[in-house]
Symmetry: C2
DNA sequence: ATCGTTACCGGAATCGTTTCCGGAATTCTG
DNA sequence: CAGAATTCCGGAAACGATTCCGGTAACGAT
């Protein structure tokens, strides 16, 4: 194992000079520098990061903590975050932790180990962790997590309005005439985003005066297999519905297979709406209707906030982006007999939606997936009939709404 | 920021004693220990990992390096590796590096930073890195990488026979009557697994006396979008074929959408075979025929080898597992006029394959996905007509074949 | 010829922890 | 009760880098 001292000895200089070369300091003669670099190259020397971090206070490191490697949506965000961090002149260091891990403990550990200037946490949760979070003394930006309730000066967050997004999805299904809707999600812990989405589901139902039975909430893990099994046993129990809202696209795809295996057609018998808007949703057949989270915007905003906070240009910020409903082949309107009157009252809105321009942006998926020839064609352009204040969800432009909160 | 010295001062002991308490050494009196722990608790002290690692030689750490976060197949292996490491009484530390990163440089860095007892590298490459690898002085197990050519005593590997696996896939397509087959893969660098699969493709063609034009090799990245675009432009160029072999399931799914968008049916017009056997292949519609790599076995063997090597129980090991062909709805036989004679000569073999037992193991996918009701049913059980020595690929049991190589 | 400035580089302290060594206090042994 | 063994703990030297401080040499200006 080579050390800076050996390099120094072989190069005929002092350890300090090697350090200077390593850190690209200006105060070292060109020939000396080259001689040292030659030795370093020859011995394939790599500096010991522990010894380095022991003394140094990094001045350009931003740690990115990702919770849950299985979450395809987060994985898509990571590289964008990484790129943005680099583009801003900082160095990213990505640390993955387990689904069941403690992201705040990880941050505290990293704070000591690597002394970053800031954290960006993807997929974490802050519920009830105010005390622990206090100990993380550098700026923290939580992405896809609502930390708006935190009054800590160094904690920011970027997310969508999960409650509104879920409400939008259910509302869309309701407006298509669905009355019997199953909802699939994770375990409900008050304060986290799954719970918020669940509240949105209830909002949508009660706003329409439709009842939602808790037995229609299917709880499972965020994996294909778990969703498949949960849906299978639900169907086996004889529970029937005309639409499914799954709180992640992966869940939706897993459940979709169980639906198909039960001899039911999508969307003929059951419409399916996912959540997140991962790439796979567009590629799945039938293409998956979903609530798209603006991944790129979330990534960009997260890094920007972290950078601003590092530079002292602002206090804590809490940004909420709008989500958008993406229509897909997995969706159909369902005119069941008992709701025909309800549908009739919605006709006007349907007509409006059918007027949508042909270049309807991302609502129908990426450009290269539209205009499919005959055999893959599926009736799309189903109307959005949400309540007025939800209309923004159907907007093509994704706008951030900031609510600054300085301390 | 608290240090061990402050703790010592407040507890009225020497720093060394605090260190002993921290590391649970036996040679410290009960009362002293409790007094120290009380102070630690009070100040919420956390030891500085850098200072710790600077001197300590870990005695239970195994570093897992994963190259390419986007690779769904690898992601599936990670948690199994992690669990196996823990079950073996060691501590896993997972480090992800970029697709374009240098896994061996990462190992060298980690070797200094964390002083692990061994490395497990997922998805890396060793081609031409013998010199660099020498510097990594602890046992290294490369998974999904063939390092059999390395003569280093501390380098092991676990993989499938990529060449044989690809040959098997093409051979299956040929035996189904396909003569015009497109192959989709990454860039061909001699020595890596993509190149090996490419060689297997050529093997299969030449063994049958069928020619394979290089223009039928579609090069793209390992992503849905990249595969989609590559396939789209291929089809736009007017290139036609009756089957596609993609070197990853993700590529296959991306390409499948382009095929569908071009108005072609899968498998009616084009059969598709993927590679890896990720979960999504079973959930995709039509379910994707693929070459399944035994992920669980690869994970298990990788960790076992690392542990054996740590304990000095063996030298370098190079294990190759068999892969298996998994039939799927994306596959059909294609009796084109000019090959009807060829098909006829294969009849006997077809009959043999149809004799396969109903409990045909994982060949038709996981148990819960079999025996689908009518509308999802697809004619399966198409015969395997590979050459005799390839028959193992159709075997239900997955067997490891070891070739010990001590130095 | 002397001084001041600058460029360059070595010595030594420092970071927070572990570990070796040895001393003191205690207990065991005969 | 003397000597030996054991237990417990403090002092100090690592570990590998950075950085402050000071010193030397070169150079132009006075």
């Amino acid at each position: 194992m080579n050390t800076i001292k050996e390099i120094a000895k072989l190069a005929g200089v002092a350890p300090a000079t090697v350090s200077r070369v390593l850190n690209n300091r200006p105060d070292v003669r060109k020939e000396t520098k080259e001689a040292v670099l030659a030795v370093i190259e020859r011995l394939k020397y790599t500096p010991n990061a522990n010894a380095k971090n022991l003394k140094m206070i990094s001045n350009n490191l931003i740690c990115v903590i990702v919770k849950g490697i299985g979450n395809l949506f987060l994985v898509g965000i990571i590289e964008m975050v990484q790129a943005r961090v680099e583009a801003s002149g900082y160095m990213p260091y990505v640390q993955y932790i387990d689904e069941a891990g403690d992201e705040i403990a990880a941050a505290r550990q990293l704070l000591i180990e690597r002394k970053p200037l800031a954290f960006v946490v993807l997929g974490g949760s802050v519920a009830g962790r105010e005390r622990d979070l206090e100990a993380v003394s550098v700026p923290c930006v939580f992405a896809t997590t609502d930390a708006g309730c935190m009054a800590l000066p160094h904690v920011s967050s970027v997310c969508i309005d999960d409650r509104k997004a879920a409400r939008m999805a259910i509302d869309r299904l309701l407006s298509l005439g669905h009355r019997s809707i199953a909802v699939m999600g994770g375990s409900l812990r008050p304060g986290d985003l799954i719970h918020n989405r669940y509240l949105g589901v209830r909002d949508a139902f009660s706003a329409r005066g439709v009842s939602f039975q808790d037995q229609n909430y299917i709880e499972c893990k965020f994996s294909l297999d778990s969703a498949y099994q949960a849906m299978q046993s639900t169907l086996t129990c004889g529970i029937r519905f005309t639409a499914l809202f799954a709180m992640s696209d992966i869940m939706a795809i897993g459940a979709a297979r169980a639906v198909a295996d039960a001899g039911l057609a999508i969307p003929g018998d059951i419409s399916v709406v996912g959540f997140d808007g991962i790439d796979m949703a567009r590629y799945y057949i039938p293409s998956l209707a979903t609530v798209r989270q603006p991944a790129a915007e979330i990534a960009r905003a997260s890094v920007e906030i972290a950078v601003r906070r590092i530079r002292g240009e602002s206090g804590a910020e809490h940004v909420r982006f709008d989500s958008e409903f993406v229509a897909g082949q997995s969706l159909s309107n369902q005119y069941t007999s008992e709701q025909s009157d309800d549908i009739a009252s919605q006709k006007g809105v349907f007509k409006h939606a059918q007027d949508s321009k042909p270049d309807a942006g991302t609502v129908d998926g990426p450009r290269h997936l539209r205009n499919r020839p005959g055999r893959n064609r599926y009736p799309e352009g189903l109307g959005f009939t949400g309540r007025p204040e939800d209309a923004a969800g159907n907007d093509r432009r994704v706008q951030g709404r900031k609510s600054g909160k300085d301390v």
